[in-house]
């Protein structure tokens, strides 16, 4: 396995080098994205200037789902191979995922204000995003619910596995439910017909958020490894 030979020390040094590099890359892409977003792309004929929120809202939504799939894969890996690195990755991914879903919800409701007139609308995607946020919070709670970190990881992995199968069902049933409750609302939130001048800033912003995610993840992973080393040292004193 690729992780077998990389012991914690090598992995820690690896994260120490990569992390600032990823952060600077994400800041560069951010400037390019903002430049293309605000200077090069036209406002939408229907929604006017508020379409520019799409450049931050849609990448955040993509990332909230992508981070959950990372957690799901790591928890399967940790249940199957009982490798601590998988636990560490899934433990450090959860808060970042929660922040991305929170950002999606906030920008979604702000975007909804001019288009629908109210801050919160029980639109299908916004509700399933809210459920995803609740699921992230329960993952974080279970991660820190036990004093023994290894037990917390194991139970969080089990919860993530329950989530893998149930979240698509929840998403589908929420979509069916919201079409019944609001047949009228043409979901304006769906990004309008994108011509390439709008597509370019969207992808650049996705890259910038991706590198930001990588850098924060590596930072948290390093913190987790050091936290576990401290626990081992503290425990080895207890006879």
């Amino acid at each position: 396995m690729i992780f077998k030979f990389a012991n914690p020390l090598k992995f820690q040094r690896f994260t120490k080098q990569i992390q600032p590099f990823a952060l600077s890359l994400s800041i560069i892409f951010l400037f390019f994205g903002l430049f293309f977003g605000f200077f090069r792309s036209p406002p939408d004929y229907l929604q006017g200037e508020t379409v520019r929120i799409m450049y931050i809202h849609v990448p955040c939504a993509w990332f909230s789902l992508m981070i959950y799939s990372v957690i799901a894969m790591c928890s399967i890996f940790s249940i199957a191979f009982k490798h601590t690195l998988a636990d560490i990755i899934s433990r450090s991914c959860a808060p970042i995922g929660a922040c991305f879903t929170l950002a999606t919800l906030v920008t979604g409701s702000i975007w909804g204000k001019p288009t629908w007139g109210t801050w919160w609308v029980w639109d299908a995607r916004l509700t399933s995003e809210l459920i995803l946020l609740i699921f992230y919070i329960s993952l974080i709670i279970i991660n820190n619910a036990y004093e023994n970190k290894e037990k917390g990881d194991r139970y969080a992995a089990i919860l993530a596995i329950i989530g893998i199968i149930n979240l698509p069902i929840i998403k589908w049933s929420v979509d069916w439910w919201s079409t019944l409750h609001q047949p009228a609302s043409i979901s304006k939130l769906s990004s309008p017909s994108i011509d390439n001048s709008m597509l370019v800033p969207l992808f650049i912003m996705t890259f910038s958020l991706f590198f930001f995610f990588i850098s924060v993840l590596l930072l948290r992973i390093r913190g987790e490894i050091i936290q576990r080393k401290i626990d081992v040292i503290k425990f080895s004193h207890v006879r």
């Binding site: 619910a145 149930n166 069902i169 069916w176 439910w177």
Partner: protein, 222 residues
Amino acid sequence: MKSDFYILMSREISIGIKNFFVLYTFASFFIISILIFVFAIGSDLIAKNNIYEPIIWVLLIFSVMLVSENFVSNDCNDGSLKELQFLGYNEELIILCKSITMWIMILLPMIALMPIVSIFFKIDYVDIFYLFINFLFATPSLVLLSLVSSLFSMQLKRNKIIQFIIILPFYIPIIIFTSSSKKFALENNLYNNNFLILIGIFFITLPLCLYTSRLIMKEINK
């Protein structure tokens, strides 16, 4: 040679019948919360735009969650869960028998409660029949999910409330498809195939809950 399933089922049922107290908590919690709803909303309002079905389903979910706790906890605390494991019964079978006995023990008070509820909410007899069919198909997955959540909380010393927070998102599909069947009967023909969706949900939650409770039971002993 008696099969494992028969042995476990006979054990669970004999123990289940002995602590009959569980059914009183279930039935009394159900009735009292219905009273609270009636006082809060007022019975004429409930009867007018017949929101009795969502009320019944929300209360059913919470009472099932409350009852599932003591099905698992006294088995786990006095070590008989561990005894079943080291006697060679695999964990899925243990949890399957527990959920079957819990489902049967929940079915009995519900049969008694249905007419009482229908009198409270002045429901006509056709809806009671559909309500009961809905109830038959949805409670198995409710029971399985609440058993998994009470297994989660076995290890928690400090805050037992976590089990409710964790498991609530997974009740959403069930509550959507059970409480909306009557109301949207006219608009679309989803009326009769809501049961099929509930059966589908049950067939997904059954293996999932058995597998995760197997993982949890392996963790409990560590």
